[in-house]
């Protein structure tokens, strides 16, 4: 039952309320498959990582991977869910060439993780999406269509890769909220190390269930958009689907339940040819697998090894360092980045400055060089030293950027040495500065007159003159203050 409050008018699309729920398949980061000992590495030659069990050869049987279960426990703890003491594996029966056994081993009535929630900020508003469940299951293989005329080639390397299927309540009310949820979930699973989050490689795939309704009416018929593997496509697909459904309803057509695919080339969603909704999966408990028992001791052990979670850490950064929510969320994009920030903030005592620099200069370079913060040529302590020099007025922000360039490109790691070597020390001697200001005022009587007549542009020109005369070393803030004072 949907217990949400009345919809915010601003969220309505042409008067319709949008209702979205997600099912996300996260590939779990393990060495071997969930039920076999074949490797899970991406990109191998076809069927070289599909052992007899993965190929469903006659007589083969499943044996459960402990680490996959550990990952499920980690996830359950990260979202505040109940980790079931007993859960059951069930067979989901259907025929498809990439499903070698003709059934998928999954969980049906009793999943390993029950309940839980994911919170995030949408602008200034805190949102919470409730989870119904998360369960373990095996991935299917892949069909390749390009090379073969009229045929498909089946690669079972991926068959048996462990998945955690994460299901939400239909709590989301806009595309933006849905994408924000997906991003937060992505952050959580990568943060706690259970998934590598590589969406291009299919490690994190979302299915979006979308429906619309007039406010106050019962839930509309939903359509499921499958296999969204980029946030950009997710947004485009959901937006399109919403518009399409509304158009259909406005034209007097009912929405038929369907599974749809998003075509990135056309930007449209279209119903799949196979009517999967008509499928009867004939779920029953898998007789080859006794029930999964998770002792409370194991859960405690896993809990003890869990890192501080991103949402909690972001909240702490806001309280502890006085950062805005936006900064805190951005800095907690990965444990490494958050650690970098905290080290730099503590060492320099300049939390907001550190945040600006990390979100700005550091991230810009990391992105363009496709580098991870762990490989940043400037470490947190060095950055902190530079930030301290900005804070104490030794260098201006502009000069600091030049210093940072030098540090990043390997000219040295000693901030002070670089400042000296490049002569970037800001002039802080007020006496010398006042002398320059007096000279500039004397040399520019027209500007002075214009400023006194109310033209601010004239003031900037005077500031420019002072900066030039000081060869850029004057502290702009000081120039401003002193110049204004002198022109009173």
């Amino acid at each position: 039952m949907n217990q949400k409050a009345k919809p915010t008018a601003s969220l309505l699309v042409h008067g319709y309320e949008v209702v979205i729920g997600f099912e996300t398949h996260a590939q779990l980061a393990t060495q071997s498959k969930i039920f076999s000992r074949a490797p899970t590495a991406f990109g191998a030659e076809p069927n070289t990582q599909a052992c007899a069990v993965d190929m469903a050869l006659p007589g083969t049987l499943p044996v459960m991977n402990r680490e996959a279960v550990a990952h499920a426990i980690r996830f359950g703890l990260a979202v505040g869910a109940h980790v079931a003491e007993h859960s059951v594996f069930a067979r989901k029966n259907y025929f498809y060439p990439d499903l070698p056994k003709g059934y998928q081993i999954s969980q049906y009535e009793i999943p390993v993780v029950q309940g839980g929630e994911v919170s995030f900020y949408l602008g200034d508003e805190k949102k919470t999406v409730r989870l119904v469940r998360a369960h373990l299951e095996e991935d299917a293989g892949k069909s390749l269509h390009e090379q073969f005329h009229g045929q498909s080639g089946i690669d079972l390397n991926r068959a048996g890769t462990p998945l955690l299927e994460i299901v939400t309540e239909p709590d989301m009310r806009s595309t933006a909220e849905a994408v924000a949820y997906a991003k937060e979930l992505h952050k959580i699973v990568t943060w706690i190390g259970i998934c590598d989050g590589n969406m291009q490689e299919g490690s994190f795939r979302c299915d979006a269930n979308v429906s619309v309704r007039k406010p106050g009416e019962p839930l509309g018929t939903r359509r499921e958009i499958k296999n969204l593997n980029s946030f950009k496509f997710m947004q485009q697909a959901i937006d399109y689907e919403i518009r399409w459904q509304i158009e259909q309803l406005e034209d007097g057509h009912a929405i038929e339940q369907a599974t749809v695919l998003f075509d990135p080339d056309t930007g449209e969603t279209r119903a799949m040819r196979t009517k999967e909704d008509a499928a009867d999966y004939r779920y029953f408990p898998d007789p080859d697998l006794p029930p999964l028992v998770i002792e409370r001791e194991w859960v405690s052990e896993v809990q003890a090894g869990m890192p501080e979670l991103p949402r909690a850490m972001a909240d702490r950064l806001v309280t502890e360092y006085g950062l805005p929510e936006y900064d805190a969320t951005t800095l907690t994009q990965s444990p490494a980045m958050a650690a970098y920030f905290e080290a730099a903030a503590r060492a320099s005592g300049q939390a907001k400055l550190a945040s600006n620099w990390i979100m700005g200069e550091v991230s810009r370079r990391l992105n363009s060089e496709e580098r991870d913060i762990a490989d940043a040529p400037v470490n947190a302590d060095t950055l902190a030293a530079l930030l301290a020099r900005i804070a104490d007025g030794t260098v201006s922000n502009n000069a600091a950027r030049q210093v940072f360039d030098a540090l990043w490109s390997g000219e040295g790691q000693d901030v002070d040495a670089i400042i000296e070597a490049k002569g970037l020390r800001q002039m802080n001697d007020t006496g010398a500065l006042e002398k320059i200001i007096d000279e500039v005022i004397a040399a520019n009587p027209d500007n002075v007159t214009q400023f006194k007549a109310g033209k601010d542009k004239a003031f900037n020109a005077l500031v420019g003159q002072v900066m030039k005369a000081s060869k850029g070393k004057a502290n702009p803030q000081q120039v401003n203050e002193l110049l204004r004072a002198k022109l009173q």
């Binding site: 007899a52 190929m55 469903a56 050869l57 006659p58 007589g59 083969t60 049987l61 499943p62 044996v63 459960m64 067979r91 029966n93 025929f95 060439p97 070698p100 056994k101 003709g102 059934y103 089946i154 079972l156 009867d280 004939r282 779920y283 029953f284 007789p287 080859d288 697998l289 006794p290």
Partner: protein, 498 residues
Amino acid sequence: MSRSDLHEMGVAELAAAIADKSTSAVEAAQHLLARARAHASLGAYLAFNEEATLAQARAADARIAAGERGPLLGVPLAHKDIFVTRDFPTTAGSKMLEGYRSPFDATVVAKLAEAGTVTLGKLNCDEFAMGGSNENSAYGVARNPWDTARVPGGSSGGSAVAVAARLAPAVTGTDTGGSIRQPASFCNVTGIKPTYGRCSRYGMVAFASSLDQAGPMARSAADCAALLSVMAGPDIDRDSTSLDHPAEDYTRLLGQPREGARAERPLQGLRIGLPREFFGAGVAADVQGPVRAALAELEKLGATLVDISLPRTELAIPVYYIIAPAEASSNLSRYDGVKFGHRAAQYDDLIDMYKKSRSEGFGPEVQRRIMIGTYVLSHGYYDAYYLKAQQIRRLIAQDFQQAFTQCDLIAGPAAPTVAWKIGDKSDDPVANYLADIFTLPASLAGLPGMSVPAGFGDSGLPVGLQLIGNYFQEAALLQTAHAFQQATDWHTKSPEGF
């Protein structure tokens, strides 16, 4: 060593003869292969690979020459074609797997090979182990050597025939609803199905996962014990339903009197429960006779007969025939013509390929059970059928536990009749199902059960005595059977002409 003696020998005898060099593994294998080929009309064997057999035999002889000894070293045997083998094709009695070569050996096969057994070939069976007469094999019927116009029973029909006609001293079989016990009864052979999970199912072509079990068939309880000791044991790496119970020496109680008993009455203190449901009007008179006589023998050996009840015996039929087909319908979905197995020659599209391949590859009984299984699992029917059956299954298992408070083991016929004529029941699938009534309950409960030759009924056809023990009581079952076989000689009889 007279070659004609070789096929007369049981496992222990043959192992001893090979060990003391009166014969060799190679000689024994060659002799039995020749016999198997000579009696091909019995339809026991489906595949040979003489090269592989002799290679195994030579390896065994080399081990003997090096001084190694073991109860199965050099002993020839054959495997039901449900066990996958690298050296022989595996068909599971089906066209679906014609020519299929497995890249690995079943665990049970590997264990026996490690103990030095020599594989003579693969044995005929009902398709995917579904059937009680071996008439469901896609490769022809197997014939009961006691009357070749009659069925040997099933699904391990070829296995029972091979032992009865002395084409192998011992064989492996599988038992899901009675497929070792019933053919053993029909062919005058000794067979045992252990506790569920006692033997690894890895490499057994799956029929019904919660019921399938491997077991030996041979000419005596002692030989079965020797084989089971090697076959059983945990397979932690590969079978999640394999019990984590250490391997046992199942021969350890053979010939020992029960605790507190004397040698003359070795079964003193043994309480044998006789379920009244196993001795009702449905049991043919010519089965009741030998079974009652066998029970009298057991009394002479010191056992006490106790009347008990297994009230839900009849329910075992619908319960089994819902659960087994349900699991089978899912287990057989992998036969889709994509990765292995039969693919139709002509098809229009993917779905057509699936349907044609499966309909061409599976015989009528298999298709029937797939249909039943698919139906009872389908939306809207699961609760009324599958779930209900699993609930009653627990009640049946509880009935046995209740019975075992009054007795140590349970006895009765393995089947209500002796072997019927080939073709008599082919048109009536339900009649076939009803004939399984005595073996199904122990299968559902996962209990160990044996069939021991107990005499002959009308037309000189064999009758088996079924013994059912509590979980993990295989050694006690074998001890009882052995004591019976020391005091009687039914199990030594061979059909004329073989």
